[in-house]
């Protein structure tokens, strides 16, 4: 399986995502420069963390106009796997690929710490390898990770089982403890915590691999002839 990692000006977890996939997951990954019109021959795309365009104006507000985002939209519409981590989540929300918004943390401060996430659904390409209600340990590192949406959207996310992860101890004031969500097609996920920072024991946790392994499973399933599927 081949991953593409988008590099916006100001991305700074691009290399971490690349390393996690390439080195710790053992699958090839390549960088895709933000002004590229196409994604090339990849099976999944990662929008990494960082401060795309300095997060000026609003997190992700400028990045959504990068040429590559048109290709990402098309890739997602065609059912391709899109994972937005931290700033990548913010960009996906700004681009309209995921609902809601990410606001300043409740305490108005940047927070870097390990948190616990509860897996809320196994029905997605990003969580299928998890166990039911599995608790995953991975870090957060953001100043604007407080997830907000109107009540209808939140109800809809819950009704459609599109909340992928909730915080066990909500660090940033996110509504309904939301840490990560899925789109209606269940092939686009955004989350504020950093799974790529939890992919080997030296990092303090390997739980992030659950997400990447889920993506591998999904890709393998998608590659099988229809007749072989359950």
């Amino acid at each position: 399986m081949k991953f593409g990692v988008i590099v916006f000006p100001g991305s700074n977890c691009d290399h971490d995502a690349w390393f996690a996939v390439n080195h710790n997951l053992g699958h090839p990954a390549e960088f895709i420069w933000h002004d590229s019109a196409t994604l090339g021959d990849i099976d999944a795309v990662i929008l990494p963390g960082g401060f795309a365009y300095g997060d000026y104006l609003r997190c992700g507000a400028i990045a959504k106009f990068s040429p590559v985002m048109a290709a990402v939209r098309k890739f997602a519409a065609d059912g391709g796997l899109v994972l937005g981590i931290c700033n990548g989540f913010q960009i996906l929300v700004e681009a309209g690929l995921l609902p809601g918004a990410l606001m300043r943390n409740r305490d108005l401060k940047f927070i870097c710490r390990e948190v616990r996430l509860r897996t809320e659904t196994l029905d997605s390409a990003f969580t299928a390898a998890a166990e039911r209600r599995q608790i995953l340990r991975m870090p957060i590192a953001h100043g604007e990770g407080c997830y907000v949406a109107d009540k209808r959207t939140l109800d809809e996310l819950e009704a459609e089982d599109r909340i992928a992860f909730r915080y066990v101890d909500n660090p940033n004031g996110s509504m309904r403890d939301i840490a990560g969500i899925l789109n209606a097609g269940r092939n686009v996920m955004g989350l504020m915590p950093h799974p790529e920072r939890a992919t080997e024991p030296l990092m303090g946790s390997s739980d992030g691999l659950v997400i990447f392994r889920s993506m591998l499973m999904a890709a393998v399933t998608a590659a099988e002839p229809v007749a072989l599927r359950a």
């Binding site: 977890c13 401060f51 300095g54 000026y56 940047f110 870097c112 870090p139 590192a141």
Partner: protein
């Protein structure tokens, strides 16, 4: 403006003395014009020229078998094997951080990061040494709290956005920093050995290229501001503080590293203090060449700027480089990709002159070497401390609380308590190399390419240095090396930041000289050559100087592996004080945290240091770590044994300790004698065998246990407290003080 008459008043405003001015006239063979006067004033400022300290800095050891580049470049460079090197340095941004805490600290981070990637190294770690006035000071408290919040937010803003992890540091509070907070930032980067770049202009006819942010009127005279005491008028200097843009710096980093790979770049230097002036004349001076620039070509974000303003601007996120003639386009292409300005503004010449033109007319012409290297050198009068030691004050026996109350008070004091509130605002793990982060004895960052990890620690104790600058500086080096040994690393090189008051006062100059000599001796002994650093003088406000505050940063190497950490892990392990519980008397107790927090006094001398013993403790410790015998390890320092043990209990495992010592209780529990490390181990005999081989005591102090910390002295329980209670005090104190 260049025709402005040079009057004695104008010269004085530029903080140049009469003899200095005469030297300028001698160098030029004529009177300088206004622009030239400005150029000389910044290059010959204390901040840029080290004119008061240079004579003494020469005493520092700078060579070592791993040192690739010592002082004199943008950063020191050390070989870490496997074809890789690290570049690192510490710098102060004290004055700007007092005037405008957020931007002052932010641009402090930005400046040191540029020093690192100018060398071709990608920054992989930042540490900060911070000093503020007490948060609960009746008068200055609110301002001190505001300064701390601003400084921390500024460091977080810049480092987080740039994408460098802030992995450690220290934060101390003393009244002497009420009007002079200290912000010292250390940065470290990594590069392939052959990819290191230097700032030495070469090749007559080669283009001089300006890259990065446009030049504005910000920061003019920042270097001179940092070379004077604060007065009431200093508040008006807020416009002298620059505004940082970490996003632009991130682009500059990527563009510079990419452009360096083209092979078309010959030399590169960042524009930090003294901006375009410093970068042009220093690159020319190092290469023995001249540089000619045309100011009309300098990207400017304001109109009508004079040569004086352009040359002295300290606008951030700018670089100057020399490219190979004919290959400019390769450089321009890279910077265009990253959306940055890159413009040829001049050429390297053979005449050794810095020639500045505007609209085709020469507006300044100064010999590079004289400007950069011939700054006046002062052997300022210096006086050693009078009276060997301060006498103990009034506080009597009656004031001494029981050991447990004392522990809780010291553990909850601002110096000792957890700084989580600060470091959680820093992204300390971006780049996924942080193996030991904030809160550890030493920060450890792995080098993914080689399997080696770099351990780093910053240390400085101004209470000790106030009592004896020489011993205080030695103790800082010893503690720094001990911190590295505690995680299993071998110290290899150092950088220093010397924060002092006004050097024109003999007693201050005396502190500086003693501290440098002490540091020098210790660095020689521990084989940690100083590869660069920074001197910050005139840390005085309204005549009140800071205590001498030399800060040392030492880097060490170790094989990449999960490091030994502070917290006790398992109940039932044997606890050792490697190095023994030590000795103490009244004289050597006066600089401790106990004396500060409980007795509100400072007297006597710093703890006594035996460097030979200290080194043997480190060697033993490294061997214990290498053999996998230490389940936890923690350096005993500020707050002494009681605090060190309490800190080891912050996981979930406590300890039961008992001592037979005849020392007075507060001495035994709170003295800060060096050369001691707390270890818990499942293999006590093996630990003892190693210690014995190094001629070091491994004193059994007790065992780890669940839920609580209990300490007994000669059969009597003096401390018995649950881990919950310890944690509550330790973790919540700082935030409580900030919210008070």
């Amino acid at each position: 403006m260049s025709t402005l008459a040079i009057t004695p008043d104008l010269i004085a405003q530029h903080q140049l003395t009469e003899p200095e001015y005469r030297k300028i006239v001698e160098i030029l063979g004529r009177e300088p014009n206004y622009t030239e006067l400005g150029v000389f004033s910044v290059m010959w400022s204390e901040h840029c020229s080290y004119k008061s300290s240079r004579l003494h800095l020469k005493k520092l050891p700078t060579r070592g078998k791993l040192v690739v580049q010592g002082p004199g470049e943008n950063a020191g460079v050390v070989d870490i094997g496997g074809g890789y090197v690290i570049a690192f340095k510490i710098e102060s941004h004290n004055h700007p951080s007092f005037i405008e805490p957020f931007q002052g600290a932010a641009t402090g981070v930005g400046g040191i990061l540029r020093d690192i990637f100018t060398m071709g190294a990608r920054p992989i770690a930042v540490l900060d040494s911070l000093r503020f006035g007490p948060l609960d000071d009746p008068q200055a408290g609110p301002r001190n709290r505001r300064i701390l919040q601003g400084v921390v937010a500024g460091i977080a803003h810049y480092g987080n956005c740039f994408g460098v992890p802030t992995v450690g540091g220290e934060c101390i509070f003393e009244a002497c920093y009420n009007g002079n907070p200290l912000v010292n930032v250390f940065a470290l980067g990594v590069a392939k050995r052959e990819d290191i770049f230097y700032a030495s202009a070469a090749g007559v006819g080669n283009p001089v290229i300006y890259v990065g942010a446009k030049t504005g009127r910000d920061g003019i005279h920042g270097a001179s501001m940092a070379s004077a005491e604060f007065t009431e008028e200093s508040k008006q200097k807020r416009p002298n503080v620059q505004v940082g843009d970490p996003f632009l710096e991130k682009l500059l980093l990527e563009a510079c590293l990419e452009a360096m790979q083209t092979g078309a770049i010959i030399a590169i230097q960042d524009m930090g203090a003294a901006g375009l002036t410093c970068s042009t004349c220093e690159m020319g001076s190092r290469g023995g060449t001249g540089i000619e620039i045309e100011l009309d070509w300098v990207p400017q974000r304001e109109t009508g700027m004079t040569p004086y303003e352009i040359m002295l601007s300290e606008s951030q996120e700018r670089m100057l480089l020399v490219a190979a003639k004919g290959r400019e386009d390769e450089v321009f292409r890279v910077f265009r990709k990253w959306g940055l300005d890159a413009v040829a503004i001049g050429t390297v010449t053979g005449d050794g002159l810095l020639r500045v033109k505007q609209h085709g007319r020469t507006v300044a012409e100064i010999p590079n070497r004289e400007l950069a290297d011939e700054a006046p050198l002062y052997d300022r009068p210096h006086r050693p401390r009078i009276g060997a030691e301060r006498a103990r004050g009034r506080a009597g026996e009656g004031a001494i609380p029981n050991a447990q109350d004392a522990l809780m008070a010291v553990l909850g004091s601002a110096d000792i308590c957890s700084k989580r509130y600060i470091w959680e605002q820093y992204d300390y793990m971006v780049r996924t190399n942080t193996i030991a982060g904030p809160g550890a004895d030493a920060a450890v960052v792995r080098i993914k390419e080689t399997g080696v990890s770099v351990a780093m620690s910053l240390d400085g104790n101004s209470r000790y240095c106030c009592l004896s600058p020489r011993e205080g500086a030695q103790l800082a080096v010893a503690e720094c090396c001990r911190n590295l040994a505690t995680v299993g690393a071998q110290p290899v090189a150092a950088t220093n930041c010397l924060n002092f008051g006004n050097p024109e006062r003999p007693e201050i100059m005396g502190q500086l000289v003693e501290a440098i000599e002490g540091m020098s001796e210790a660095c020689r002994f521990f084989e940690t050559p100083i590869t660069g650093g920074n001197v910050s003088l005139y840390n005085e406000t309204l005549g009140e100087g800071i205590w001498p505050t030399p800060v040392i940063g030492i880097v060490g190497l170790m094989q990449t592996a999960a490091p030994v950490t502070r917290d006790f892990k398992t109940a039932g392990r044997t606890i050792f004080v490697l190095g023994g519980v030590g000795e103490c008397d009244e004289v050597h107790f006066g600089g401790t945290e106990y004396a500060k927090v409980i007795l509100h006094e400072l007297w006597g001398l710093p703890p006594a240091l035996d460097m030979d013993h200290e080194k043997r403790v480190h060697d033993a410790m490294r061997e214990i770590v290498a053999a996998g015998l230490a389940e936890s390890a923690h350096d005993v320092s500020d707050g002494g044994l009681a605090v060190a043990v309490a800190e080891c209990c912050m996981g979930s495992v406590g300890a039961a300790l008992s001592f037979e010592s005849r020392l007075r209780h507060e001495y035994l529990l709170f003295h800060e004698g060096p050369s001691r490390i707390l270890i818990s181990s499942a293999h006590p005999q093996a630990v003892e065998a190693i210690a014995a081989r190094h001629g070091v005591r491994a004193e059994r102090a007790g065992v780890t246990m669940n839920y609580a910390l209990a300490v007994g002295i000669r059969g009597a329980t003096v401390i018995s407290v649950t881990i919950e209670d310890l944690k509550a005090i330790y973790e919540e104190s700082l935030e409580k003080q900030l919210r008070s």
